[in-house]
Symmetry: C2
Subunit: 197 residues, 2 copies
């Protein structure tokens, strides 16, 4: 009796993960039970390992297992450039691209009057302190091209005005993108930012 | 350094679950790390609990924590009816419906010449034994309406012919279904099985 309740509790917990609902959580749990030797037991172990060690970098907000993350600790990344991103997921996306050699600052969200999220909830004061103390030459605002993302970018730009060079990611046609499938806003932005060949 | 590798290993494991890919696994792991107190640690604990106790019912193949599952142990379900399903997920779906009061037999798949899955891989011999030993009056073949499912149903029907009453789920228009969105096969089947009002 208790066992089935355990399985149901596990399904409920899995269903709370982003991207999974009750139905896919059930499927995932069944699959895990079917392969409990190769899948469920190692996954449980790995999770408790990560739960015990994972935390946030005190400086940039990246996920790590010590006070400072690998990127903050690396001498090679001390280029004086800070890339401001919304979430750790965005930091990982930037790192996959592999084009940025500086350090990051993870805000942990965007400003939102509706959800009552102000600058203090977003590590923005910490960013201002870092710019002052770390000899930063450029802050790249790599925030999402959404209304909330752009509001946040404007607020940060106001805070840092005159202290440092401020840039944002270029907007335009994505690599491999077809004009026919692009929205009007992107096409207009790409046209305004056109370059001579 | 090792910590990040732990997180990456966790993402890789999560990505192997059905319904999750690399991208959604990353999102799920990030969310878990963000809420590690409420989400990651309890989930790890629940998983190792289930991993330690979950196994298959020796009689019907349902998921349970003792030799026999709750349904097989319950006296109320000894109605002499066995419902044959492909997977434990199908058993759960039948139970959610709540219309069946008998016991189940989980095949664990369907016959497939391509994947080299024969009757011995599917608990079909066990079903034949159960029909002989448990005083079964009716076997309901609740297999999926796919080619593999129907092939398996035909094979089982051959095996049990003359020993027991054999039935299958009715085919027709789903409750709430609109004719315009149904495939031709379903409409034909519903027409052939039409009932007088």
């Amino acid at each position: 009796m208790d066992g089935t309740r355990d399985i149901e509790a596990l399904i409920e917990m899995m269903a709370r993960l982003p991207g999974l609902g009750p139905r896919s959580a059930r499927r995932a749990v069944l699959q895990m039970i079917r392969k409990r030797g190769q899948l469920l037991a190692p996954l449980a172990e790995q999770m408790s390992k990560v739960a015990a060690t994972a935390r946030e970098c005190l400086r940039c907000g990246n996920v790590c297992t010590s006070d400072l993350c690998e990127i903050c600790l690396s001498d090679k990344r001390a280029t004086g450039e800070i890339c401001v991103v919304q979430d750790v997921g965005d930091l990982w996306a930037m790192e996959r691209g592999g084009a940025f050699a500086g350090r990051y600052h993870v805000l942990g969200g965007t400003l939102s009057a509706l959800d009552d999220i102000g600058p203090e909830d977003l590590r923005i004061p910490q960013l201002v302190t870092r710019v002052r103390e770390e000899g930063v030459s450029e802050v790249i605002l790599a925030l999402n091209a959404t209304v909330d993302g752009q509001t946040t970018a404007h607020y940060i730009a106001d805070q840092l005005e005159g202290q440092v060079r401020l840039t944002s990611l270029a907007q335009g046609v994505p690599i491999g993108g077809e004009l026919d499938y692009l929205d009007d806003g992107t096409i207009s932005a790409a046209l305004r930012a056109r370059k001579s060949i």
